[in-house]
């Protein structure tokens, strides 16, 4: 100990540059924390270890924390012993790796004098008065984490007794009184109708509906209208879109090579259905997290899991990088982070993802909580899940699929026995092969050849053929095998086990084809890299190779050829560059393409001469064949027969449904999910600073400890199936005592009706979010919702029948001077319509809106280069195509390229969670609304419609106005429009109407 200390002092002298503090006796006895020490810490340390930041979890402005130290767990200040205090060792540079402030920091290094002050203070006992320490507030002492309070609505006073219709108004009026505000008068009926139509259905009212409603003497006409609109299927379409914003639903992966997800839409339909059927909210939450576990056998329970997979997915980071690589780990960490964020932001309105590097700075979310949430989802990937509405069928199919996945292992077991029989010679041979495989190979062209689609059955027939352009005297056909190290197959990859080579003049080979070589009667030995020639005479235009028994891979079958050569009598290869067609093809450029079959590129041509590796592999095959005893051969045959039987059974089932969802992935190509391990969740560790190379403690599934929900929910046996983790999270979220879930949803619905929630930050109820403007009302709504039927429709009804909702949106300068943002709701907010509502309105008034519900999304683009990195060409869509005239909620949502017109109008960006849309007004938006092809085409249809529906110019214009704005024009408006239309035509007039402010704003 003494020795170490001496060493430290000597080093300190070197580091400090000149001999200060060598003799402890020389130190000033009277160092005062506030006068001498705090200024040093403040100048050099607080930037990274103060109130704002606590790098390495260390904080120097709070006494207890300053002494305790950071993440390392080591005490940072040892009173009475400065040389043992890491604080001194770090600032003095005694531990070069831990030099503070660090080399890269902008903070100035401590001077020797300042170091001396710190040392003297510590050696004197490090006296630190409590009054000079920052006190930290308990982060869980915060409104959002407290139980929902059940307070009765405040009583009305005389001033608004006549106004208050029901509890909501009483809460609002109480705040009005408090702030010296009053309410606005009720909006006129026409305004109310238009507001209600857009709020509940996202579509404008038809003129008939406007006139019916304004003339309706029934005192309950408004309430009846509310019920009518809530019962309309249009309602679910409208409100599903709000939900899809929050959960960042998209139909492509995003990132690089942004591939489509053709089966994402069933989740969208599920959400629409849930709103229309008024599914109790608790069940809605539970289905999206753990529908498969809690409601087994229901289609809803599986389709809802599209929630988990809604966000982006890094295809390259997963499919091309194994989990064992660092980059592969990062991709999977980001993927789980997205699942966790989606779940907790959406249902709890908390920003849990801040806790992946350290405990949340502001909210009571521990880093460990965050990783426990990752453990909830760690068995899952994003993938297609196959199912039926009929539970029995789903079970049957799942069982068959499970059996099918067993065959490779069974086959391997038999082969292992055979390998044992083959003994040492096989081991030697394989060692030789391994050595040969390491020899540097000459560079190869990437154009491997033709590759069929992958087949499930060995005896599935596949063919590929060339068109020589004209009848040709054929002398010889050569088939060159491929070489691909996929599954360690190497040379001979995909070469058919049985096949025929035919020539003919009918491209369909229906008639008089001549068989040049028939190898379909017995298995053909794999030729490895040696091209196989078949000499025979024929005069024909087409040459076809038909595989009648495919080449096996792991558990499926393919047909691949590197080159097909057809030699004429002059010895020329006349197939070069000829058009190629095939039964099917995977087309994965540059390696696999039909054109590669006749491009002159094949392994044998590239590495001319003998290929030692290929010969060794042939020798191994022969050795294994000799070693295969009759019993093993029979067993292998049995496995093959059973596999074929299972494949046939699967094929005999009715076509299943598919949904892209969070599910256990059974692997595809080089991608492995957890399916191979029985869906066992991946182990999850707390990662130091979120770094995948620094795993710490392993954690089990859990949620946020600070939320007062029965912690027994997550007490699962270690071998519990993965679904039980998600089921636990679902139960945790929907627990009566979890205040976040209920406040979160009523706030979102409120936001939908007023443009702003009672909490403005709908995804963040934490310390960085806004405070509720009406906390008692929020809790009253949350409690009523939770303890009632958890019916979102009832919640709508409650809100829109309030006097608060029915206020006019007109300005009141006096009120605005008190509350310019209208947070107290002294009027209703005027709202700009969303991109979807504007587009749907345009289609509706033009008479083109197709109200067909559900099913695959319409694509208002053309995909170019689909085989590699798809280009989404919105400019190539035909706006006259009726398939594109459905409601916008059915639009196919691309992540890497948003639809430009929709994006200009602030549609939700599916690469991020959107609790509330930005609302911008830009010239680009004006251009989009003026000039986009959809606008112009619809302007013509709109004009054609009113041209028929109105008798004269005035009637036509009036009709157009009425359709678009829900009212007739006043004389001045009519005159201006009529003058314009008379000179420039009805289509131009209709285009102008669709660009009016009144068209895109709702009062």
């Amino acid at each position: 100990m003494r020795r170490t200390q001496t060493l430290v002092v000597v080093t300190l002298l070197l580091a400090a540059g000149r001999p200060v503090l060598a003799d402890p006796e020389l130190r000033s006895p009277g160092v005062d924390y506030v006068r001498d020490v705090q200024p040093v810490l403040s100048a050099h340390c607080y930037e990274c270890h103060g109130a704002e930041k606590q790098k390495s979890g260390y904080r120097l402005d709070v006494r207890e924390l300053a002494f305790a130290g950071g993440e390392s767990g080591e005490q940072a200040i040892v009173p009475g012993d400065s040389t043992a205090s890491p604080l001194i060792r770090f600032v003095a540079g005694l531990e070069p790796d831990m030099l503070m402030p660090p080399q890269k920091s902008d903070q100035p290094r401590l001077t020797p004098e300042e170091i001396g002050v710190l040392r003297a203070w510590i050696d004197a006992g490090a006296s630190w008065p409590a009054s000079a320490s920052v006190t930290i507030r308990d982060p869980s002492d915060w409104w959002a984490f407290k139980p929902i309070a059940l307070s009765p609505p405040p009583l009305s006073d005389e001033r608004n007794a006549g106004w208050s219709r029901h509890p909501i108004d009483q809460f609002i009026a109480a705040k009005h009184r408090e702030k010296g505000l009053g309410h606005s008068p009720e909006a006129d009926r026409r305004t109310l109708l238009r507001r209600l139509y857009f709020d509940l259905t996202g579509l404008p009212p038809e003129p008939d509906a406007v006139e019916r409603f304004t003339a309706n003497p029934d005192s309950l006409a408004y309430e009846k209208l509310v019920d009518e609109l809530l019962a309309s299927p249009r309602y679910g379409e409208r409100w599903a879109r709000h939900w899809l914003d929050v959960v960042h639903f998209g139909e492509t992966h995003g990132y690089d090579k942004d591939k489509p997800r053709p089966h994402a839409w069933p989740y969208r339909d599920y959400v629409i259905r849930a709103f229309n059927e008024d599914k109790p909210f608790g069940r809605f939450v539970e289905e999206q997290i753990a529908g498969d576990a809690l409601f087994p056998g229901t289609a809803d329970g599986l389709e809802a899991l599209g929630f988990i997979a809604a966000g982006p997915w890094d295809f390259i980071g997963h499919a091309e990088l194994p989990e064992s690589k660092i980059d592969g780990k990062i991709a999977r960490h980001l993927d789980r982070d997205d699942m966790v964020s989606n779940a907790i932001n959406t249902f709890s309105s908390l920003t849990v993802h801040c806790a992946q590097c350290h405990d949340h700075k502001f909210d009571p979310i521990k880093q460990e909580d965050y990783y426990r949430l990752q453990a909830v989802f760690s068995a899952l990937d994003r993938t297609d899940r196959v199912y039926y509405d009929d539970r029995a069928l789903t079970t049957q199919r799942d069982a068959l699929e499970a059996r099918r996945r067993e065959f490779p292992a069974r086959k391997e077991a038999i082969e292992a026995a055979v390998r044992k029989l083959a003994g040492q010679p096989l081991i030697d041979l394989e060692r030789e092969i391994a050595a040969a495989a390491k020899d540097p190979r000459p560079p190869r062209s990437p154009q491997y050849g033709y590759h069929s689609a992958v087949g499930a059955e060995e005896n599935g027939v596949k063919w590929v053929q060339v068109d020589l352009g004209r009848q040709t005297a054929i002398q010889r056909v050569v088939l060159a095998p491929c070489d691909d190290d996929f599954n360690n197959i190497g040379a001979g990859f995909g070469f058919p086990v049985r096949f025929r080579v035919e020539a003919g003049n009918d491209p369909a080979f229906a008639g008089d084809a001549l068989c040049l070589s028939d190898q379909s009667g017995a298995d053909y030995p794999n030729p490895r890299n040696v091209p196989q020639g078949f000499a025979n005479h024929a005069t024909a235009r087409y040459v076809r190779v038909t595989a009648t028994r495919l080449a096996p891979r792991q558990n499926d079958f393919i047909f691949a050829l590197a080159e097909l050569e057809v030699f004429d009598e002059a010895g020329r290869n006349v197939a070069t560059g000829a058009p190629v067609s095939a039964h099917d093809t995977i087309e994965a450029a540059p390696r696999w393409s039909t054109a590669n079959l006749v491009d002159g590129v094949f392994p044998a041509a590239e590495n001319a001469g003998s290929d030692r590796l290929a010969k060794l592999r042939t020798a191994r095959d022969e050795l294994l064949a000799r070693a295969t005893d009759p019993a093993s051969a029979a067993a292998l045959q049995t496995v093959a027969a059973q596999r074929d039987a299972v494949t046939r059974e699967l094929a005999a089932l009715p076509a299943p449904k598919t949904v892209y969802s969070g599910a256990v992935h059974h692997g595809e190509g080089s991608f492995t999910g957890t399916g191979a391990y029985g869906g066992r969740p991946r182990p999850i560790f707390v990662l130091a600073r979120g770094d995948v190379t620094k795993p710490g403690k392993e954690v089990s599934a859990g949620a946020l400890e600070a939320i007062p929900v029965d912690s027994g929910i997550f007490q699962l046996p270690p071998d519990a199936p993965e679904q039980s983790r998600r089921a636990a999270l679902a139960r945790w979220l929907t627990h009566r005592d979890n205040p976040l879930t209920w406040r979160s949803i009523v706030n979102r619905v409120w936001q939908g009706h007023f443009g702003r929630g009672l909490v403005e930050t709908a995804n963040d109820f934490g310390h960085m979010g806004e405070l509720p403007t009406h906390p008692e009302l929020l809790d009253w709504l949350a409690a009523a919702f939770r303890d009632g039927d958890q019916s979102i429709k009832q919640l709508h009804r409650l809100i829109v029948t309030s006097a608060t909702y029915r206020q006019a949106s007109l300005d009141n300068p006096d009120a605005a001077s008190i509350d310019g943002d209208n947070t107290m709701l002294w009027r209703q907010n005027r709202r700009r319509l969303e991109a979807e509502a504007i587009r749907d309105s345009i289609l509706a008034i033009s008479g083109k809106l197709d109200l067909a519900m559900g099913g695959p999304s319409f694509q208002d683009f053309t995909i170019e280069k689909a085989e590699n990195s798809p280009h989404y060409r919105y400019d190539l869509a035909d706006p006259e195509n009726p398939a594109l005239h459905r409601r916008s909620v059915y639009r196919f949502i691309v992540r890497s390229q948003q639809q430009p017109w929709m994006a200009a109008l602030d549609c939700a960006d599916p690469s991020m969670l959107v609790p509330r849309r930005n609302e911008t007004i830009t010239p680009v938006q004006a251009l989009a609304q003026l000039n986009n092809q959809l606008m112009l085409v619809m302007a013509k249809h709109f004009a054609a419609r009113v041209d028929v529906e109105g008798e004269d110019a005035v009637a036509k214009i009036t009709r157009a106005f009425h359709l678009a704005l829900g009212r007739v024009p006043d004389p001045e408006e009519l005159a201006s429009l009529a003058a314009y239309v008379s000179r420039h035509g009805l289509a131009n007039g209709c285009r102008a109407i669709m660009n009016l402010n009144e068209f895109v704003f709702v009062d």
Binding site: Q103, K104, S105, D106, G254, D256, K257, P312, D314, I316, G317, L321, I326, A331, T351, F362, D363, P440, P443, M768, P813, G820, R830, R832, K865, N868, S869, H871, R895, S896, Q897, P900, W901, A903, D906, S911, N918, E919, T920, I921, P923, V924, Q925, L927, A928, L930, N931, Q933, E972, S976, Y980, R983, H984, N988, A992, L996, N997, E998, F1001, D1003
Partner: protein
């Protein structure tokens, strides 16, 4: 008022800056015969005096700026530092020998073949004597303006993540591009053109598509506006689509007037809502953009010596099917010339892309198969355009306050993939900067003897540092330009970033 995150903030700011309302109302009341476009021109002159639409900083910078605008060049696919800018004689010495990094290396593909020397010879250039690879020799003319940063390091070797990291500061989607932040902070200095313009490779977008410049949580007007010069609609919907056969110049002018008239009446009864006036103005601005954009994009009137400077004198209509330097020069250099015209006209941030996504045949910098084949033409075209742009800015006195940034998602390995290509190297690569307060003729930071990792691994330069430096030069403290989103005060540099004082003049 609403804070910056509010949807209304920016449009409100725009309305307040210009507030020509009373004048418009006067004009309408007194002389309704004016056509909309003419009216907007009139109002535009009025606004020209107010000149600037302020950004989130309200025109108040954190310190005096060195630069007012930025042009960023992005080499999609990962450009090789060791074949172009970062000369490694050790690789020449060890060429063909089995590579040995002295530690376990995770290659993205199979990139741990033998060492490979630089594909081209290097020669010294400029007063600083910087060694440059042959295809980028053209940059030798301006090398004394350039600061090279040779110890850039990334996070992963995945294109999408690397591209997002360099473009947005985050390796996952959902964050605004660098130009969005600059537009957000500084606002626009020309109402008639977008503040942030993107000139993509004409063959397609790079990894992540528009996510590299989307505004995400920043208000939409800060989004990069994509411009394809030379096409009928260089900006989406700038002019009516062909289906608008019923539209005539007369109907356009009168239509804009009609909209003004009806919208003003509508707004008059709805006081206290700036959005309604902002939307009226947006139609004026749109009309002005229709005039300003084609003029800005039209290079036909550029004099011969300028066209020659950019290598555009013999513009060709068609090119050889193989990748070739003439075609690459024509397209990249033309984008550089257009960038200069946009910058001259007040665009804040221009982003120029070289290379598209990973299609086939390869038209980007991801030279797994053959560095010489792809990098040769791409680098030749890039160097010609970049060099010409710097010279051109300089001769116009604009280089002093225009920051030029050259970047790519990561570098390439000093070893081969068995053939003539190089695998991804996220561990070290090169950026370079010029103009706008940058110290020229310097090389900052070093990679190790192979160009495999930073020489000093504890002091690598990260994208945050480049971004912090760029914002610093624009007069912005990178820690103070923030917007709260989902509970976090987001900024371009996340929680990192240090100004690279070594490259600041």
């Amino acid at each position: 008022m609403f804070r910056n995150a509010s949807p209304f903030h920016q449009s409100a700011a725009r309305a307040e800056a210009a507030s020509p309302l009373s004048r418009r109302e006067f004009l309408w009341a007194s002389g309704g015969g004016l056509g909309g476009i003419a009216l907007s021109m009139l109002l535009g002159e009025e606004r020209a005096q107010a000149s600037v639409v302020p950004g989130a900083l309200g025109g108040v910078l954190h310190h005096p700026p060195r630069a007012k605008r930025v042009v960023q060049m992005f080499m999609a696919g990962a450009a090789s530092h060791i074949d172009l800018f970062d000369f490694k004689p050790e690789l020449i010495k060890r060429h063909g020998q089995p590579s040995d990094f002295g530690e376990h290396v995770e290659a993205f593909q199979d990139g741990l073949g033998p060492w490979m020397k630089p594909v081209w010879d290097f020669a010294p250039h400029g007063g600083c004597g910087k060694l440059l690879g042959a295809p980028v020799a053209e940059l030798g003319k301006v090398v004394d303006e350039i600061a090279f940063v040779h110890n850039m390091t990334g996070k992963t070797g995945v294109h999408s993540q690397g591209t997002l990291l360099q473009a947005t500061g985050f390796n996952r989607p959902g964050f605004p591009g660098m130009g969005c932040w600059v537009s957000y902070g500084l606002g626009s200095s020309n109402d008639n053109l977008p503040a942030f313009v993107v000139l993509p490779d004409h063959r397609g977008l790079a990894s992540n598509g528009t996510k590299n410049w989307d505004s995400t949580f920043l208000p939409g007007q800060h989004q990069g506006t994509v411009i394809y010069p030379g096409t009928a609609n260089p900006i989406a919907d700038l002019f009516p689509a062909p289906q608008g056969d019923f539209i005539t110049p007369a109907s356009e002018g009168a239509g804009i007037s009609l909209l003004h008239h009806l919208n003003a009446r509508h707004a008059a009864g709805r006081g206290g809502d700036e959005r309604l006036n902002a939307r009226i103005q947006s139609y004026e601005l749109a009309a002005r953009m229709q005039l300003a954009a084609p003029e800005a994009l039209d290079v036909s009137n550029e004099p011969g010596h300028i066209r020659r400077l950019y290598g555009l004198e013999g513009a060709q209509g068609s090119f050889a099917p193989q990748i070739n330097p003439i075609e690459e020069t024509e397209y990249f250099s033309r984008r550089c010339l257009i960038a200069r015209r946009l910058l001259e006209r007040g665009v804040r941030f221009v982003q120029i892309w070289s290379g598209n996504d990973n299609g086939f045949p390869r038209r980007n910098w991801d030279s797994h198969e053959d560095v010489e084949r792809d990098h040769g033409p791409l680098a030749t075209g890039m160097a010609r355009g970049a060099s010409a742009l710097i010279l051109d800015l300089k001769q116009r006195g604009m280089l002093d306050d225009t920051l030029v940034i050259w970047t790519t998602e990561f570098g390439r390995m000093p070893s081969t993939q068995g053939g003539k290509g190089r695998d991804h190297n996220p561990y070290v690569f090169t950026n370079w900067l010029a103009g706008g307060g940058i110290k020229g003729g310097v090389s900052y930071g070093e990679s190790d003897e192979w160009g495999y990792k930073p020489l000093d691994r504890s002091a690598a330069t990260e994208v945050y540092d480049i971004h912090a430096t760029a914002l610093h030069l624009l007069g912005i403290d990178h820690t103070k330009l923030t917007l709260r989103h989902n509970g976090i005060d987001r900024r371009l540099t996340d929680v990192h970033g240090h100004v690279l004082s070594g490259i600041v003049a």
